[in-house]
Each structure stands twice: as C-alpha cells, then as structure tokens.
C-alpha cells in the first residue's frame, strides 16, 4: 500500500523515489527548517508549546487529546532527566499509517521529536517501534544516523547549546505495548503491562521520570506547525480538528492505502478517493477508527465527515484513523469473531475482567458463529461486556467490548438468525 493523498506530513514526498526518506531529500523539501527556526532564532520553549496548542493538533494515536496541552503538563521546574517518547507501536488492526511515516518520511518524525524535546526540556527521546515492522525499524536507525552525522542530534545542536539524543527501540509484537504505560514498561526492559494511573507519565514516566508520549503522526506534524505556523495547520482542517490526518483505508475498496486529507472531509469523498467499493458491491459497514472503534452501518457513514467530533457524535471514534470498509458479503458474526479473537489473544492478563472476559466473549461469539449459539447468548455478551468495560487498569477491555456492543446493536438480526437457525444469514465470503 502506499500514500495516495498528501497533507502536512507527506506534502512533496515522492513515495516512488527510493531515497525520498533520506536526509537530503527531506532537507530539499524544507526539512529541519523548523528546527533551525527555533534554535537559531532562539524561539523560547513556551512559544513552541503555544504554537502547537494554537494549531489545534490533537493526538493522532487514537484518543485525540490536544498535543500542545499534553506538552504543557511536563513539569518545567523539574531538575533531572525528562523524556520524550514516541509511540510507533502501531498494533491496532486496520492501522498502518505510522509505518508509512517511518518508511517515507522518518526525518519529519525525528525533527518533531527534537522540537518536542526542546520545548519540554528533555535531553533524550525514544521511539518505540512495533515489532512486526522490522525493516521500517532498521531504516529508522539509519535515518537517526544521518541526523546525528548532520548535527541535528547530539550535543550543542546547530550551535544552540541544546543537547538531545534520540534512540529507537523495537517491540516484540504485543498490541498492549501501544498503551503508553505498557510501552514504558517494555522500554525499560520489563514485561509490557499497563501501569496503574495516577501517577501519570508526565510526573512518573520512563524510569520514573517525567515523560511525554505522543503518536508518530503527532510528532511528524510538528515541523509543519512550527515552519508554516499554527494558523496554516489549523486551516488545513476544521476548527477544533486542526490539520490534515492520515487515514488508513482497508477492506473492500479498490485502492486501499493511506490518505492524508483535511479533517472534516466527507467519508463519501474518502471512499471515492479509495476508488470506491470493489466489484461494485454495496457498502455494508465501516469501522471508522481502528478495530476497537464501534462499527457504523454504511448508510450512517455516508452522511458523516472524517473528524473527531462528527464521528464521535455518531457513536463511534475517529481513533487512529483506520477505516475498515466492509461490503454486503460480510457476515458480521464472523467479522466480530475475528475481532474478539484478537483481543482475547492480546489482553495482557493483568486485570481479572479483561483476562477472563476477553476469552469468555470470544468463546461465546465463536460458538454462535459456528452455529452453536444459545438463546440468551446476546444478553450474556452484553452483561459480560458491562462487567469488563471501565473496570480495568487500561482501556483494552473497553476496546474489546466496543465492537461486541456495536456489532450486536447494529447487526443484531444476523446474530439472532444464526442463534436461531444454526446457519448464517449472510454467507461470509473471504476476499
């Protein structure tokens, strides 16, 4: 898959060119100008944070928390090490945008992290990279070497007296390590399990030090904001939803891939960009923000715009921007069974409701999907889900429950039919 539409991050990136990711190409596109603007023009830390705040950049990892506000939580007066950490542990089914940032424009991320480090007074940063994209990890290491050699990393960067080092670390394929405190545990060399909060990472993060964790896309958006100004970024999207956003479109479309488009673009336009439905089939359902976002029926989606507020109003989440498109040949019971299996497999096992509940949900759905459903199973799923959601340390249990609730709500007839007749209403066709 590739990048099919470019916004603030991919503007001018020729994804077909073998060296587009290299430092020289990045600098030719105006890369590291933002860093120079800050360090050589001596832009104060507060101003950098204010600029990011004004841009309306919201966290691109899924929660949509305003990035500038998060940066301002870092204790300014704290003496000692502070860290900036990038979360490239992109494990959500349907999401593949951060991988492409590493593949095609890694220096945007590096520059964004250096700026973040400068703004928050950190001397070191880490990028934690998903274990399954090892080539991207290796290439990122090479990009880091380029940045070091060019003097963008290390001591006295660009003669400013600012020191910053950036390290890459790769995970081993645990979805839970995308949860920021599990990521920190894993980065420290421990088993990746979420920490109980409070304390939050801003006061007790990596190695117990104040830490800010942002998504890859968030960091990679920062150079644009500093170079071209918050206003221009904001204008690229819509109010409270600043900038363009990467959408990973997958499923039954003609041209799956990443689309970096202004927030607020109608879903119908995105679907069109993606070449429309494959084989002219009818749109049945869409998961608009990665596998843990509630599914929405196709007709509902066609009336929505792709931004945090609009999707949220319709009862789902923009999440990481992973748009999973399903056509009329999808058996929604089978689809949910696959998702439930994923959460059953990926629960860290720490909290009782999630450890036991994800397995229970999967086993019941698996039974229904195989014609062994029983009356009362849907109520049971609902009740088990209620006992899981909001009862655990992290949100994985909630993420496991959302699809169950939304699939059984919007497509209840398919579940009921299967339970009653022992065979599916829709004969599922794997693509």
């Amino acid at each position: 898959m590739a990048i099919f539409k470019s916004g603030v991050i991919f503007e001018g990136v020729d994804t077909q060119a073998a060296n587009a990711w290299r430092l020289a190409a990045y600098e030719a596109r105006g890369g590291y100008a933002a860093l120079k603007k800050i360090l050589q023009g001596a832009m104060p830390q507060d101003e950098v944070i204010a600029e990011v705040k004004n841009s309306g950049l919201r966290g691109r990892g899924g929660a949509g928390f305003p990035t500038g506000l998060k940066w301002s939580f870092m204790p300014r007066a704290f003496q000692g090490d502070k860290y900036v950490v990038c979360n490239t542990d992109e494990g959500e089914p349907g999401t593949f945008k951060d991988r492409d940032i590493l593949r095609f424009n890694p220096h945007a991320l590096i520059e964004g992290m250096i700026i973040g480090g400068y703004a928050m007074g950190c001397r070191a940063g880490y990028n934690y990279i998903h274990g399954e994209i090892f080539e991207a990890y290796e290439q990122f290491e090479e990009a880091l070497d380029e940045a070091r050699a060019a003097g963008y990393l290390g001591s006295n960067i660009l003669g400013s007296g600012f020191n910053f080092e950036l390290y890459a670390a790769h995970g081993y394929g645990a979805y839970i390590c995308g949860e920021e405190t599990a990521l920190l545990e894993s980065l420290e060399g421990k088993k990746g399990q979420p920490r109980f909060k409070p304390p939050f990472p801003a006061s007790f993060g990596l190695y117990g030090k104040p830490t800010t964790i942002n998504n890859t896309e968030s960091f990679a958006s920062v150079p644009f904001i500093i170079r071209d100004g918050a206003q221009k970024f904001l204008e690229a999207g819509k109010p409270n939803n600043g900038g363009t956003k990467l959408f990973s479109v997958s499923g039954h479309v003609n041209r799956p891939g990443n689309y970096e488009i202004p927030l607020g673009t109608p879903f119908s336009e995105l679907l069109e960009m993606a070449g429309g439905m494959r084989d002219g089939k009818k749109l049945k359902a869409v998961i608009p923000g990665g596998s843990s976002a509630p599914v929405l029926p196709g007709d509902v989606m066609m009336g929505l715009t792709m931004d945090y507020d609009s999707i949220s109003k319709a009862g789902s989440m923009l999440g990481s921007g992973a748009v999973i498109v399903m056509n009329e040949d999808v058996c929604m019971v089978r689809a949910l069974e696959r998702l439930a299996y994923f959460y059953h497999e990926e629960s860290c096992g720490q909290c009782t409701p999630c450890r036991e509940g994800t397995g229970w949900l999967y086993k019941v759905i698996h039974r229904i999907a195989n014609g062994q459903g029983r009356p009362g199973d849907l109520e049971l799923l609902d009740s088990v889900g209620n006992n899981m959601a909001g009862r655990t340390i992290c949100a994985l249990a909630d993420a496991a429950v959302f699809p169950v609730r939304s699939f059984t709500k919007h497509f209840r007839n398919e579940f009921e039919y299967l339970i009653e007749h022992g065979k599916p209403l829709v004969n599922h066709k794997w693509c």
Binding site: F196, G349, G357, N387, I393
Partner: protein, 774 residues
C-alpha cells in the same frame, strides 16, 4: 490529615494513604486478593472496586489515594455490581476443586465467593487448564489451574526476597505463574508465597494432602533456630505438629517466616527421634527406663569426679535449649562443683572472655534496624544465618539505610550494598581496622588499638564516611565472625568503630537462645574450661545437652576424638544420632521446644515464653525435668521446681535479662596484622544449624542441603588448574570432594562447609587447610 467518608462514616486519613487503608482503619472490610500491606500495589485483581462519588467508574480501593472530602461507598449498587462481576470472572476458569484442595477452609477465594459470588455459574465454555510447575521440595505448584494471577508471589520474590524467582509468563488468559525455566525456587524465605497465595495454587509440599485445615488447632510458639525468635503458629492434630505458620509480630518477624522456621517441624516427627532412655553396655545399646538411666548417669558423674576430680567433667549445652534448661544445666554443673560449662561449641577464640562485662546481644531492638542510616555487617553469611534480618535490611536499604559489609566473600545479598570489603578470615580484623582508621581521621577521635600498620582503602573510607554521617548507625557481627580464631580482635575493632562513630554495637546472635545462654551464664566463669579447652584437654566425663558436637563443634574431628576417649558421655538428646550412638554411653530423650514449656531470649534480649504444643513423644521428658531430677539424685540443693515457670521465676529473680546483657569490653585490644595462608571457610549450611533441621527431610532435599563441594577462591582454583574435584586435608584427614570456583571469595580461601556428614573428619572451621588435586 484529610477528611473523608466511607459508607457514611466520617474519618480522617493521612495524605498519601489509600481508600483501602482508610477503610481498614475504621474496620470496614473491602474484598481483595492482590492487595497485601507488605507488597507494592498491583491493582490487578479488581476485587476491591468501590464507588467514589463524582468518579464515573468504580475505582480500586487499594490504589486510589484519598482526597479531601472524598465520599466512598463500598456497598452501593455500583460497587456491588462491580465486585460481583469480578468475582464471576475469577471463578469462570477456576477449577472449583475445593473438596480436594489443600487451601479449602482457609481460602480467600472461597471466603469471598461466599459473600460476593453467585450460587451457579453462567460460564458454559471449556475451562482453562494450566500445567503444574516444579518449584522445588518446599513449595508445591502442582495445581496452577487454581491460580487467579494476583501476582502476590511474583511481587514477594522481587520485593521481599530481592530476586524475582517467580514470574508471570505469556499473556491474557494464557498467563502462567512459573519459576525460571528449568529452575526451582531457592530463596531462603520462599515458603512465604504459600501464605501469600490467596488460593490453592501454591501450597506447602510437605503438608500437602496430609489433613484439612479445619482439623488443626492453632498454638503459639517461638522459632527455635536463629537468634531472631520468629513468632510461630504451630498447627497440631492428634498430638502431632502438622504445620508451622507465622504469627505476625511487626517488631520481630513481621508477617514472614524463613523456610528454616517454617519447614523444620518435619524433624519433630522424624523416625529418628529418641523415644526412650538407652544405655550402652557390652558395646550394644539397650532400651531402659528413666530410673535406671538416671541412676547410671549419677553413678557415672560421681564415679568420674571421685576418681579424677570435678575438673574431669565437662558440660556442653546447645544454645537452642530453653532459657530454663540452660539455667538449670549451669546450676547443676556449678552446684555439683563443675566449672566447665559452655554453650559456645562453634567458637574458637575465647581470649576476650576476661574482658567481658556481660552477655552478648544485638545492642539494639530488631525493629530499629529498619530505622538505621548506616549499618556495617561484619562476618555474616547473612541470608543463610539470618534470613529475616536480611529481608528486613533489604527493605531498609531501599530507603535510607546505607548498608556496608566486611566479609570473607562478596556474596550476593540481593539488596543495595553501599560499601564492601572482602578479606580472608584471618585478615578480617585488619580490614575492619581500615574502617576504624578512616573513621578516626574523619571524626578526629582516638583509639587504643594500634593502627600504625593499617593502610586505608578508598572503599573503607567510604564505609567510614557513611557511619560518620549517619545519625543512627550500628556495627553488628555475624555468626561467621563469632567463630573466627581472631574473634576477639574483630570484636574489639568493630566495637571501636561503633564507639568512634557514635553508633550501636552488637552481635547477630546465632542461635535461638544464644542471648539466653549468655544471660543465664551457660559459659565458664571462675576458671572453668571453655568449649575448646574441654576438647583440647579431654575430660573423663561429658554431659551433653541438646548438642551433637560432631556437627556443632568448631573442630569436628577434635571434638569426636575427645568424646571417644571419655569414660562416660551422657547425652540429653532429641534424636538417636549416629554420632551419639558411637561415642555416648547413655542417651536420655528430651523434649524439643514443641513439647515443653520454656522460653527463648532473642538477639534483642526479648524473653519470649511458650508452652508445649503437643505432648512429649514416647518416654521423652522436658530437659528441665530431667535436670531437676538429676539435681535431686545428686543430692544438690535448690532443685525443687514444679514447673518451667518456677525455674524462670528463679532465674529472673536474680536480675532481669536486660541487666545481664552488655557488649562492652573492659579494654580494646586487637591484632590487626595480615597473614597470607590457605584457609578454610567452614560455614554451617542454612539447614544444618541444629538437629531438628538436620532431621527435616524436605529441608534436606533442597539444594541448600546438597553434598558440599570445595568452593575455591579464583586464585586457588586457577593455581590448581581448575580441577573438577580436589582432596582437602586438615589435621591428617583427607576428604575428596567436587571443586568449583567462587569468584567472590577472598584470595587464598576455600569454602568447605561444616556440619556436614561428608566433612566430619576435618578440623577447625576457619583454620588452615591443604588442597591438592586428587
């Protein structure tokens, strides 16, 4: 203080405390599994979810800090729904095999399920099954399907034990609690995970399937091994000790027990217990009755003293006897006119005896160890000698305590060690002298010890600085130090360090009643021979109480030789041991701590009394009764006691325990020169400290009780060409044993364990030794 409200009750709670702690302070119970007051907060079981007003979701009481004005509901509909939901999840994969589970009747899951669970399960799917694990001979992990993943055991090994020997592998429903692959659990305090496990996943292997918990009665007692005096709950069924659990005492053992204290009870039920008196004649042993046996003893004692004088009789007593027994033994000896009595069989240097002002003890309360700023531990194989003191210091060293060690080896203490000096046994005083010299320079004090030849290393300077800086400091001597041939010098220098730094000074009393033996005077005074002299100049008669000198004496071979030449060896003993059978001629069965009333004085000078928890086995009698009758048969005055309490009252009437303990020497003199030599480091293995441990099968099955190998310092090992086995020789006896390197051991040393069947032929524990390739 913050004002909060729990279930409508108003209370104040300190800033930083949790809802769980606040609830406990007013007696409100919140169900929980993973929470434990001594462990870090995991907040993973989710059983303690409660409603907090203004919070949208139920919050875990164990991890939620109290805030001013907080209103908590532990029984609201939100709280109850959440708790019932978690309970259901905990049970869906639990095997519910309570009828055959050892935890049945004392299971937190069972108890809480009664209050928060439903009568039947909605879970109709297949249950998870988890393969059992091998955690060694003490902890059973056979039924891991019962595990509820609370991770208490994991946190215990890491936080209290100092090393995460148990972990949770895999994810989600496939998570499993297990030790390192191919390893077992070897911590000296591993048994505590059995108490911590809220279900029947980790259970006691020796106790497994032996009885149901509700058939046991609980009796209080005191641990009879190390000088800590851990408080015990001994569980008894049909006059048999079935199990030992900790009795919580924050000032002593907190809520923990060492494996030695927990599992040694098997020795009490050993087949090798002596059940009736025995006399040897014509080279054969014959069972007899008490009257015959006691008359034999009286005749023997009277005969030897008539023929050879009272000085031909020696009394050797074990320091794991009760205070009352030790008091009566010394009273009997002295009333009979024998000045030769000693409890210190394991020692070799008695040269400071004349300078002593009172009995040795820790010099401060055990609990105060936790509040020290600086501590210097000298000559202690700490984790083996004092497992729970080590655990206590581990906690303290995480906070403010700067813990330093001067020892013969750089052993892994599994805790933060601030400074360390490693020196061969004969050079330990010299190493300490470095610290003293540095301290004198820092503090500008002065000392009577000649330090001219001492060169101060950087490390010694650092240790001295920590002692000088600490507001509360202390220097303590371990069991290893106490056995050294230059103990008096080590003692004097250590005491000077404490004096100059303004800190406390004491010894980590080795045995359960070492301090008691000191207090009642079970050691020679007025010209009597000490333990070493009694063996070096053999006596015609030996009176042994609760000791097996081949295991307990400093020089095993020398002790046995002396005993073998005696006309009579009278042994008051719990066990019919091979050694006693060889050199003794009369065996009198005496009761262990579990079968008699008595008391132990722990290292901090605390007298802890206890009652027998079961009746004496067979014809066994409490030693105090045996001594009373002997006193009467020997026609001595003052043996008309009716109970152990009578004995205690008499010994305490002469002065409190406290008034008899004093570590001061009348003058400080020490030899701080260094010598090069090949020296044995003959420590007593953790589970060989006394006859009860030595007869406890499960302890003896652990790797701590494996056959000894020669652990050689790197220089020795290399000089012999890294042999697989060696011949070690002392005093003409040679023993062949496996050899390995011990990289942390001081140069020129070889660890050859004492108190082992395999090394009985060897001599002094810390004397010169020869090693050669076999």
């Amino acid at each position: 203080m913050l004002e909060i409200e729990i279930d409508g009750k108003k209370l104040t709670a300190p800033q930083g405390s949790t809802v769980m702690e606040a609830a406990h302070s007013i007696g409100t119970y919140i169900p929980h599994f993973c929470y434990h007051k001594k462990l870090s907060i995991a907040a993973n079981c989710r059983m303690c979810l409660v409603e907090v007003e203004k919070a949208p979701k139920p919050l875990p009481a164990c991890a939620t800090p109290v805030t001013d004005g907080m209103k908590v509901h532990t029984h609201s509909s939100m709280a109850k729904t959440a708790q019932a939901g978690v309970m259901e999840f905990l049970l869906i994969n639990h095997p519910l095999d309570c009828p055959i589970c050892d935890q049945g009747g004392e299971c937190q899951l069972q108890d809480i399920a009664v209050g928060y669970g439903k009568g039947e399960s909605r879970y109709q799917e297949e249950k998870r099954s988890v393969p059992g694990k091998d955690m060694g001979p003490l902890v059973s992990a056979e039924e891991m399907s019962r595990c509820i993943h609370c991770t208490r055991c994991v946190r215990f090994t890491e936080e209290i034990g100092g090393f995460q020997e148990i972990g949770m592998a895999n994810r989600g429903e496939f998570s499993e609690i297990l030790p390192f692959l191919g390893k077992t659990v070897t911590s000296e305090i591993s048994g505590n995970v059995i108490d911590l496990c809220p279900v029947g996943a980790l259970t006691s292997k020796p106790f497994r399937y032996s009885t149901r918990s509700w058939e046991l009665s609980r009796r209080k007692s005191v641990a009879p091994h190390d000088g800590l005096g851990a408080n015990l709950i001994v569980q008894v069924k049909q006059n048999t000790v079935m199990r030992v659990l900790p009795l919580e005492n924050e000032a002593i053992n907190e809520c923990w027990l060492s494996d030695r204290d927990r599992f040694s009870y098997e020795g009490l039920n050993s087949e090798r217990r002596l059940k009736n008196p025995k006399i040897k004649f014509d080279g054969k042993w014959h069972d007899t009755d008490w009257e015959t046996a006691l008359n034999y003893v009286v005749k023997g004692l009277n005969g030897v003293s008539a023929d050879h004088g009272k000085d031909a009789v020696g009394f050797l007593v074990g320091a794991r006897s009760t205070t009352e027994e030790l008091y009566l033994a010394q009273k009997l000896a002295r009333a009979f006119g024998v000045a030769n009595i000693d409890y210190r069989l394991g020692r070799s240097d008695f040269s400071a005896d004349a300078l002593r002002q009172g009995g040795e003890w820790l010099g401060l309360p055990v609990a105060e160890l936790s509040a020290l700023d600086a501590l210097l531990v000298v000559g202690s194989t700490l984790r083996s000698e004092q497992p729970l003191i080590a655990a206590r210091l581990r906690q303290a060293a995480r906070k403010r305590l700067k813990l330093s060690v001067v020892h013969v080896a750089d052993d892994e203490l599994l805790m933060n060690v601030y400074g360390k000096l490693v020196a061969a046994p004969q050079n330990l005083a010299a190493a300490l002298a470095q610290v003293l010299k540095a301290l004198v320079e820092i503090k500008g004090g002065d000392t009577a010890i000649d330090l001219a030849s001492v060169e101060v290393s950087a490390e010694a300077g650092q240790i001295a600085q920590s002692l000088a800086d600490g507001e509360k400091g202390a220097v303590v001597l371990g069991a290893l130090a106490q056995q050294l041939p230059n103990y008096a010098s080590v003692y004097a220098v250590a005491q000077e360090i404490a004096r100059v730094s303004g800190g406390r000074f004491g010894v980590l009393s080795d045995a359960a009643n070492s301090a008691g033996a000191e207090a009642v005077g079970a050691l020679p005074k007025d010209g009597g021979a000490n333990a070493a002299e009694m063996f070096a100049t053999p006596r015609k008669a030996y009176f042994l109480m609760n000791t097996e000198p081949e295991f307990d004496a400093y020089d095993a071979a020398g002790a046995v030789a002396a005993l073998k030449q005696a006309q009579t060896v009278i042994a008051l003993t719990m066990f019919d041991s091979e050694g006693l059978a060889d050199y003794a001629d009369v065996l009198l069965p005496i009761a262990p701590f579990s079968e008699t009333a008595g008391s132990f004085v722990n290292m901090e000078g605390r007298l802890q009394s206890f009652n027998g928890v079961v009746k004496p086995l067979g014809e066994t009698r409490p030693a105090w009764k045996v001594l009373r009758v002997l006193g009467n048969l020997l026609q001595l005055d003052g043996f008309g006691f009716n109970s152990a309490e009578d004995v205690r009252a008499e010994l305490l009437a002469a002065g409190s325990i406290e008034s008899r303990l004093n570590n001061a020497l009348s003058e400080a003199r020490a030899d701080v020169s260094t010598k090069a030599a090949t020296v044995r480091v003959g420590e007593v293995p953790m589970f060989a400290v006394d006859a009860i441990c030595r007869n406890a099968p499960s302890l003896q099955a652990t790797e701590h009780a494996a056959a000894p190998v020669a652990l050689m310092s790197a220089d020795l090992y290399a000089s012999l060409g890294e042999p697989a086995d060696v011949l070690v020789a002392q005093g003409g006896a040679e023993v062949r044993m496996g050899a390995r390197v011990d990289a942390g051991l001081a140069a020129g040393c070889v660890r050859v364990a004492a108190a082992s069947q395999d090394t009985l032929a060897l001599g002094g524990r810390f004397d010169a030794i020869e090693i050669k390739r076999g």
